[in-house]
């Protein structure tokens, strides 16, 4: 391939280049995440209480970002899956594999915080309504993808399998998003991302958005770290295989 014509995108594809870039970006990203999160949480506690829900409404400032991120992470994984299958981008698989556990944790946290919020509001930890169930299915899917990416020792073979599974599972994302509109659920309908503008009061909307940005930054930082680990892990495996082969050649040469 012509060096000059190679656009930026493939330059990052080189894992070494990616590692340098990640190393440079990570400190900034992490500190930005901490700062924005601190600001967001402060604003969340300064925000007024809901006239119906009282103090419990503050759970929203973590619950909603977790839920958004669980879907964002999956969408990003689906993008990575396309990258693996269509463009055979070497980092796409790394990105997918690194994102899955983080996505699973965010989904679990969304379920857990929702459950804690639901107990005083609905009187029960869990109901099998459309929104909750579809998010639970998302959680199961994350776990399935994690199991699949770790089942095979050879990263090349597990990459395509995981990518296909991720793409098939993407059907669930629109179902989650619109479940509150399509079915009559206990879960409240969307109040921020609506065609006719947010219905939530600005005094609550701003802390929520700042928290969401903070958690997104946190997610990006974690994801970069996990990708870096995965690249290093693969290098360690490759070097170990190499050293097993080198040990085989050495005595043969010595005896000659």
């Amino acid at each position: 391939m012509n060096e000059k014509a190679v656009p930026r995108w493939t330059e990052i594809a080189n894992p070494t280049r990616f590692l340098e870039l990640a190393g440079a970006v990570l400190p900034w990203l992490s500190s930005a995440a901490v700062l924005v999160l601190a600001a967001g949480l402060y604003m969340a506690f300064a925000a007024p209480e809901d006239y119906q829900q009282g103090i419990t409404v503050r759970i929203m400032y973590v619950h909603v970002p977790f839920a958004w991120l669980s879907m964002l992470c999956y969408t990003m994984m689906a993008g990575s899956a396309l990258g693996t299958l269509v463009w055979r981008h070497p980092l796409a698989d790394v990105s997918l594999k690194a994102a899955a556990p983080i996505g699973a944790v965010f989904t679990a946290l969304a379920l857990a915080t929702g459950s804690i919020w639901g107990k005083p509001m609905w009187g029960t930890w869990w109901v099998w309504d459309a929104r909750l169930t579809s998010v639970f299915v998302l959680f199961l899917m994350y776990l399935g993808i994690i199991a699949l990416t770790r089942a095979l020792d050879d990263p090349g073979r597990s990459a395509r399998a995981a990518a296909i599974l991720t793409l098939v599972g993407f059907i669930n994302i629109p179902i989650i998003k619109f479940s509150v509109d399509w079915w009559n659920t206990l879960h409240q309908p969307a109040s921020v991302f609506r065609l006719d503008g947010p219905t939530i009061d600005p005094s609550m909307l701003w802390p929520l958005l700042v928290c969401a940005i903070g958690f997104t930054l946190l997610f990006l930082a974690l994801h970069l770290m996990a990708m870096r680990n995965e690249i290093w892990r693969r290098r360690v495996i490759a070097m170990r295989r190499l050293s097993a082969r080198a040990a085989e050649i050495k005595p043969a040469e010595a005896s000659r």
Binding site: S115, T124, W125, W126, V127, W128, D129, T133, F136, V137, L140, L143, G144, I146, A147, L148, R150, A151
Partner: protein, 221 residues
């Protein structure tokens, strides 16, 4: 013997997916039930412990066929059989069962309270269901060892193992569910079925490995 236990636990964890897959299967089975019976929380609360038990039973059957197969494929089984003067074969099987239970079944017991929450089972019921699972599931593994030993020489033994074992696990299921129901439903007692369940586990802890050892000895070719 401790070395064998540690090796098997290490293998189970390092192969990674084994334990996770079982727990995941458990989650999936339990998550599917409400779609089948409808999301009525009162109904779910009533049948919750039974669902947990059936889910755990199916999930713990899942990896059982691999109990001896891995050792057979790489020749370790010959060495384990060959050292039966030093280590009684039934004891070897017993230790392998324990390791399998620790890695594959214990996680199921640990997530069962969480799943019970999804079923709206009351806290006391959760406690009862988990403790009956903790006491009762080893029996399933010990019974399963017999099936695994019988089917070890078969290339596609997995399904056969489940078919052989399922009827034998019925008493465990009966007393497990009876005890966990007894804890919440008032007239039914908790302790008698729970004690019978413990007795079943102890009984199969002896019978299972002994029968499996016998089957293994005759399977060698």
């Amino acid at each position: 013997m401790l070395a064998l236990y540690l090796r098997d636990v290490k293998l189970g964890l390092r192969a990674g997916s084994g334990a996770l897959t079982g727990a995941l299967f458990f989650l999936a089975v339990v998550a599917v039930i409400p779609f089948g019976v409808g999301p009525d929380l009162n109904l779910l609360a009533r049948i919750g412990p039974a669902i947990l038990w059936i889910g755990a039973l199916l999930a713990s059957l899942l990896g059982l066929d691999r109990l001896f197969q891995g050792d057979r494929e790489d020749g370790s089984l010959d060495l384990l059989l060959g050292s039966r003067d030093r280590h009684m074969l039934a004891l070897t099987v017993f230790v392998k069962c324990l390791a399998h239970w620790t890695v594959s079944v214990l996680p199921l017991v640990l997530v069962s309270p969480l799943l019970g929450l999804f079923m709206n089972v009351p806290p006391l019921g959760l406690l009862a269901a988990s403790s009956t699972l903790l006491v009762g599931t080893p029996a399933i593994t010990f019974i399963g060892a017999v099936g695994a030993a019988l089917a070890v020489a078969l290339p596609r033994g997995g399904l056969l193992v489940s078919v052989i074992i399922l009827p034998l696990t019925v008493p465990v299921l009966i007393f497990g569910v009876a005890a966990s129901r007894g804890a919440v439903a008032d007239p039914d007692p908790f302790l008698p079925p729970f004690l019978i369940l413990s007795a079943l586990t102890l009984f199969f802890a002896v019978i299972g490995p002994a029968a499996a050892a016998l089957a293994l000895r005759s399977s060698s070719d």
